[in-house]
Amino acid sequence: MGLRDDLERFREVGEQRRQDLSEFIQYGDLGQSLPHEIRIPIKIVDLPSFEYDQRDQGGVGQGGDGTPDVGDPVGQPQPGDGDEPGEPGEEGGEHEYYEMDPEEFAQELDDELGLELEPKGKRVVEQKEGDYTDITRTGPASTLDFDRLFKAGLKRKLAMEFDEEYVEAALKVDGMGPQSVFEWARSENIPVSRSWIEDAYEHLPAEERTTYQTIAEMEADVDRTPTAARIREEGIKDIPFRREDERYRYPETIEEKERNVVVVNIRDVSGSMREKKRELVERTFTPLDWYLTGKYDNAEFIYIAHDADAWQVSRDEFFGIRSGGGTRISSAYQLAAELLEEYPWSDWNRYVFAAGDSENSSNDTSERVIPMMEEIDANLHAYVETQPSGNAINATHAEEVERHFGEDGSTAVAYVTGPGDIVDAIYTILSTEDNE
């Protein structure tokens, strides 16, 4: 035992106790993650204790150059209460991160929510190389199947080997010349060549050529050792590798369908979308993106922000934008339809996710949005209503969409009033898609 053990245990415990996935989605620091590397803070590995609510506690700060004025923003709470190890005043509480790739994330989310989303293959990617299981007689040296060559050589060796002493002994029988020994050897299934016998006979001193009277006498005197036993005793000096035994491995050709997905994320950025609502959207959309990235071979994302008009933005901007204007959700679907032309339905799986507080300009939902949702081919359309304080009176978009599509397998509507609803919303969305 000792610190080395403690460190090891920490790593194990950290792995086990990284923030629970649904907890992470609801409350975790999503911002530390990259699209292809999900970083779940495992600070939670440290033991819980009775603490004050950080926001409610407030705190004390010290001005650098003079005292700031009352009302000035101070940024994030100033850290460094000396509890953290390390130099005093140093930014404390560096988090440990547990890193997941999107595949692992998708797998875990499947396990946790009991999802069974099977991505469909669409576009055919020609002549994908499969495993190197086919065989040819020629090929680059690096693909030579040496195991096979060696085995063939060994077989050959076994077939050619014979007990030299035994054959020699046959030559020592009175009256047996090379010709009669060759015939005898053949009848005994000894794989010896005629020339070897002739050669051996010549080197045999004359007086030894009459050592035995008969074959029977020789056989009684000399034991014939089987090849396998002899090899085991003496080993093999060389293996006869032959060109004709060479085989080259070759990849199987597989016709594979690539599983492509394009995900359209639409967000209402109008004035009514305050910080809490914005954060709920981010917490719902981000795991969906990760999940689909993990499920599909190739995932592409389109981000659309809208108020009364819609425009395309980058992912980095997407969750931060805040604008002033009114709301017309159809503007976003209009733009989505245009952008999706580049991703033909025949080749691409499509998901269109929209989120907002259900406020929309009058009749826009029924007259424009719903028809467009029907028109845009997609595996799934979803609308996520983020309304922390329940419904506002004129916020009916989600209801209208839900009423129109009902239990349709390609449209999901989810309501998120607080972080506690997020995991349910994700489940609702991901379990709606028809898997036929």
């Binding site: 920490f10 010290q62 923003p73 130099e87």
Partner: protein
């Protein structure tokens, strides 16, 4: 951990080269009035240092992943700091301090002076005495390590179960009664808290049979018991959760789904961890005070007394600036500033008292009659203590109380390098004058800044008001040790809370630009709310009282008459981190065996309230709601409670909210 980068011989060599420095530092510290535990210094390499930091300055701790976590963080953080000077000393007699071999000499010296001051604090602050006068810490922690290791290696006990058990207890490590002297659980038990002692108590009261019969009759006694014959307990809310659980807790047995007695090892682990919590509590309670103390004396020794040689000094100053100059709130810096402030205020008071005793000087005419610039000049230390040089030894008087007569003799014999160590010729009085705070360049103006109001307050308690004929005569009589004397008293009796409560003033808060901030629901950020000393003090109290944590007590060990545990959060206006609290409850269940409950008060705000406030450009006032959090072994629940069930928990005396009144809707 990894291969040592230096072999023992190298460390030995460094240690030997530092020996004279350690001796000098100790001598200097003693001359300054410090009275430290003896300190053993160890030279360690970078890895060993990180390991020691993880173990809180000790070589052996019980096996636990938390040390591994700290070690890992430590390594990562210090990489960025270049693994520079780190000061580590543990509270023990003798204390053990660790010096990193890669530090250069200036850093080593700084660390050593710092450590001497810490060792003085450990030895003399009374809060450390609450645990034990002789902590014997290294041995205690090592023996705990042995016990726990033996349980982990015991084949009849599941190692994971031991680890989990430790986790359960550690969640409550701050739930002790840190203001009471440490006593073992057995002794704790003897303190009468159980109502089963009632009859015994009644006997002690020696009441007449009549009274007993009328008032304390069987019915009354019965009413004090539940059906098992045990009265509701604890009779008073209990702060020492660990002791309470150790005494009355059960473990939950999954197989039988019942609460069963603790195993011996479980009970013992609770006790060991509780003892460690009490051992470390004083350090957590005196962070500002102790770190400020060490930083203060370090700067006197290093900066003013030239303990670092000139070529080292720049390096030192650089390091010092990095440690204390990092942006934001820094409790160590606050500590040092407040110690200096206390010193200045005490010295100033002594000067003003002397001046008010000059014939004809009153608080009304103080600022007119007294030329404070001249006073300032007069206060400058005498050349005898300030300019000691080998060629001026004959000007020194061995009989002056400020001069160490024996040392002067030896200096004259050439045994002391006077130019290098002038302080060796001085006594505590001499040093106090030499380092007199009011005349230091950085405190120039402190004396002059005194307000008439303050002078008046000082005058109020002054009787003998015409003792001196002239200002010069009065200043001559000013005791230069007043500041230090006061500091030594404070370091003996105070902790962070009492220190801040007593000495924080508006003058201090303004001079050092402290302010409070709060979270704004409408703008969703933190804003400066006040620069008033009372507000700053409140927020600091929140941060340093009770380890900066909410107070949780045991209210009922037989809640609902079903052996359930009821904890209560003594709500001071700041709500709990509810999420963490429920996680703790899950673990408390493991230590109780029956369902556990926690009463608390939360603040609730609807989106609509915030929206309304935002339109009015004000902050919404949240509604306070009683809540019962409950964990029954399987499920967590949260139910609203009628206000009368929690009203006794809500404190009304202090409002920790520092938002200006006019901001509130």
């Amino acid at each position: 951990m990894s291969k040592p980068t230096t072999d023992r011989a190298d460390k030995q060599r460094i240690a030997e080269s530092l020996e004279p420095i350690v001796t000098e530092a100790h001598e200097l510290a003693t001359t300054l009035g410090l009275d430290p535990y003896p300190v053993n210094y160890w030279i360690v390499d970078y890895d060993e240092m990180n390991a020691l930091v993880a173990y809180n300055g000790f070589q052996r701790r019980y096996p636990h992943w938390r040390w591994g976590m700290t070690y890992d963080q430590q390594r990562k953080q210090r990489q960025f700091l270049g693994g520079k000077a780190y000061e580590l000393v543990n509270n023990d007699d003798p204390a053990h301090a660790f010096l990193q071999e890669s530090n250069d000499l200036a850093d080593q010296k700084a660390v050593i002076t710092h450590v001497e001051a810490h060792a003085d604090f450990f030895a003399n602050n009374q809060w450390y005495g609450l645990f034990a006068d002789d902590p014997n810490a290294a041995r205690m922690l090592a023996s705990h390590a042995n016990r726990i290791e033996s349980y982990m290696e015991d084949p009849s006990i599941d190692r994971e179960a031991v680890e989990k058990w430790i986790d359960n207890v550690l969640c409550l490590e701050d739930c002790i009664d840190q203001h009471r002297p440490f006593s073992t659980v057995e002794d704790w038990l003897e303190e009468p808290s159980m109502a089963s002692d009632i009859e015994e108590k009644l006997e002690e009261l020696d009441l007449s049979e009549e009274v007993l019969g009328q008032v304390f009759n069987e019915d009354w006694l019965e009413s004090q018991r539940d059906e098992d014959g045990v009265a509701t307990f604890p009779t008073e809310p209990e702060r020492d959760l660990i002791s309470f659980l150790r005494t009355h807790g059960r473990q939950y047995d999954e197989a039988t789904e019942k609460a069963v007695e603790f195993e011996d090892w479980q009970r013992e682990i609770i006790e060991l961890l509780r003892r460690e919590a009490y051992y470390f509590a004083p350090q957590k309670m005196t962070k500002v005070l102790n770190e400020g103390w060490a930083a203060y004396w370090e700067s006197i020794m290093m900066g003013e007394e030239g303990f670092a040689e000139e070529n080292e000094f720049i390096h030192y100053a650089d390091h010092q600036a990095k440690v204390l100059g990092s942006p934001g709130f820094n409790p160590y810096k606050l500590g040092k500033e407040l110690w200096e402030y206390v010193e200045n205020v005490t010295n100033r008071r002594a000067v003003v008292e002397a001046l008010l005793r000059v014939e004809g000087v009153t608080w009304r005419n103080f600022h007119d009659r007294v030329d404070l610039d001249r006073v300032h000049e007069t206060l400058e230390p005498a050349p005898m203590v300030d300019r000691i040089r080998s060629d001026r030894l004959d000007t020194l008087d061995g009989d002056d109380p400020r001069i160490d007569g024996d040392a002067l003799e030896r200096a004259r014999d050439g045994e002391i390098d006077v130019d290098r160590f002038p302080w060796k010729l001085l006594t505590y009085e001499g040093m106090a004058e030499r380092h007199y705070s009011l005349v230091k360049p950085q405190h120039r103006g402190f004396l002059k800044r005194i307000s008439q109001g303050t002078v008046e307050r000082i005058a109020r308690y002054l009787f003998d008001d015409s003792r001196y004929g002239s200002v010069d005569e009065a200043i001559e009589a000013v005791n230069h040790t007043a500041g230090w004397d006061r500091m030594y008293e404070i370091r003996e009796s105070h902790n962070d809370v009492t220190f801040l409560d007593e000495f924080l003033t508006q003058e201090f808060v303004e001079e050092h630009s402290y302010f409070t901030y709060e979270y704004m629901e409408t703008t969703e950020d933190y804003r400066v709310t006040s620069t008033d000393v009372e507000d700053v003090k409140k927020k600091l109290m929140l941060r340093f009282s009770n380890f900066g944590k909410p107070t949780i007590v045991v209210e009922d060990g037989n809640y609902n008459n079903r052996n359930e545990l009821l904890l209560a959060h003594q709500y001071n206006g700041v709500m709990l981190d509810v999420q963490q609290a429920t996680q703790v409850l899950e673990r408390v269940f493991e230590l109780w065996g029956h369902p556990v409950n926690l009463k608390t008060i939360t603040k609730e705000l609807s989106e609509n309230d915030i929206e309304v406030a935002r339109r009015r450009d004000s902050e919404p006032t949240p509604e306070e709601v009683g809540k019962l959090l409950r964990y029954d072994g399987e499920e967590l629940s949260e139910t609203e409670l009628p206000w009368e069930e929690v009203s006794h928990l809500a404190a009304t005396d202090v409002d920790y909210d520092t938002k200006p009144e006019e901001w509130l809707a």
